[in-house]
Amino acid sequence: MTLGRTGHEPMRSADPAGTPDETLLERVGAGDDGAFRELFARYAAVSHALAFRLVRQAQVAEEIVQEAFLAVWRMPDRYDPARGSVRSWLMGTVHHRAVDAVRREQAQRRRADQAAAVASRVAEDPTDDVVASLDLPRERRLVQKALAGLPEEQRDVIQRMYFDGMSQSQIAERTGLPLGTVKSRTLLAMRRLRTHLGEVAP
């Protein structure tokens, strides 16, 4: 049951080659497992990449993806179009779970040390070889370009916060920056990314 929600117009995640995400999600709500499989096909691999980037453990990353999509399959009505597109909701669901997993790790310093070792293994991942041999999809190129175009200090904050799962306080502690500086750099980076990514945002 929803109380008094007055949302914006949905931000459509339109796939020009197929059915919009929002339509698929509506069908999932009606129990259409074919629609669920289509959503899964669209976003499972990028969800897996995001989870793995954060937790650095293949099995844990797969579990996160499975749990996130299970939640989608069970409760698609939890999606609120006023808070963004289906894609952003899915990625947010995966990201929240992965960040929670990261923060469960009590030995932060030990994990950071392990990350360096894992990073070298990631570079040798045969999956990456396959992907690298393909043309990057347009959206991925644009997002990578937008990230690369950020001032280094802003990109660093985004990397630590989104891709490493660090909180604002942890970043301030690690970098020695005042918390206020971390926060202002985050907002500046998000605004700049929004400007650069506006053309591909749903």
Partner: protein
């Protein structure tokens, strides 16, 4: 009335990236509640969520196990009959040690949990009314077990967020506050600090409870440490 959204904009950006913590999490909830039904707040939230969601696209996709989607669909089909049992999802537990032995006695506690919920329904109504843009009412109510006062939480299993409310709570003492923890296995994960007013508390917990087996409340210093330093005074098992 023209409202200033600078602070909300900044905090929403950080939350979208998963980096919000400490007092700022409560501050954002408070400011959003003050803005009430705020179109600009929702626009900013959607905008930041959208940008954050797109960041994941910069990563090289990693194929998942081909059987995963079949497992998810099959798991839901196996789970479906249990959903009809409803009241079995209400559970009270008095301590970590007792949890396993009490799992078979859930139905008998349904009435007690309902009583707690009814006793402080007005507080819950206040929280719902002050959430911006309305809020979905969670489907499961859990009553905490403690020696003094009443504390309950409403949430939807597998979904982010929970409403926590209580009444008749003892004063935690000078320089002290209550801190809510999500217990995952043996690992406590910080939830939120709860400062009661005249023994009553009502708050929205913006956290993922999907991995938590147990909720616990301890008395901590007002700087809200990242790990509990005292024994729980309230506990509740999650299903």
């Amino acid at each position: 009335m023209i409202r200033d959204h600078a602070s909300i904009d900044e905090l929403l950006a950080i939350r979208a990236l998963g980096g919000l913590d400490g007092d700022d999490a409560a501050r954002l909830e408070r400011e959003l509640a003050e803005h009430g039904d705020c179109d600009e707040c929702r626009r900013l939230e959607a905008e930041h969520n959208e940008v954050a969601g797109m960041l994941a696209l910069s990563l090289d996709p990693r194929p998942v196990d081909e059987g995963m989607v079949d497992r998810i669909v099959a798991q839901e089909q196996r789970r479906a009959p249990r959903e009809e049992q409803g009241p079995e999802r209400i559970v009270i537990a008095s301590s970590v040690d007792e949890l396993s032995s009490r799992r078979d006695a859930r139905l008998g506690r349904w009435q007690a949990a309902f009583g707690v919920a009814a006793a402080i329904a007005l507080i819950l109504a206040f929280v719902l009314a002050t959430r911006p843009g309305g809020v979905e009412v969670p489907g499961t109510i859990v009553a905490f077990q403690g020696e003094r006062g009443e504390l309950a939480m409403a949430y939807t299993p597998g979904e982010r967020g929970a409403l926590v409310w209580g009444a008749g709570l003892p004063d935690p003492g000078g320089g002290k506050t209550y801190e809510l923890w999500m217990i995952e296995g043996d690992n406590p994960v910080r939830g939120a600090c709860l400062a009661p007013t005249d023994g009553a508390v009502a708050a929205y917990l913006d956290a993922d409870l999907s991995s938590a087996d147990l909720m616990a409340v301890t008395v901590e210093s007002t700087d809200c440490p990242s790990a509990p330093t005292t024994d729980p005074i309230f506990t509740a098992e999650l299903t």
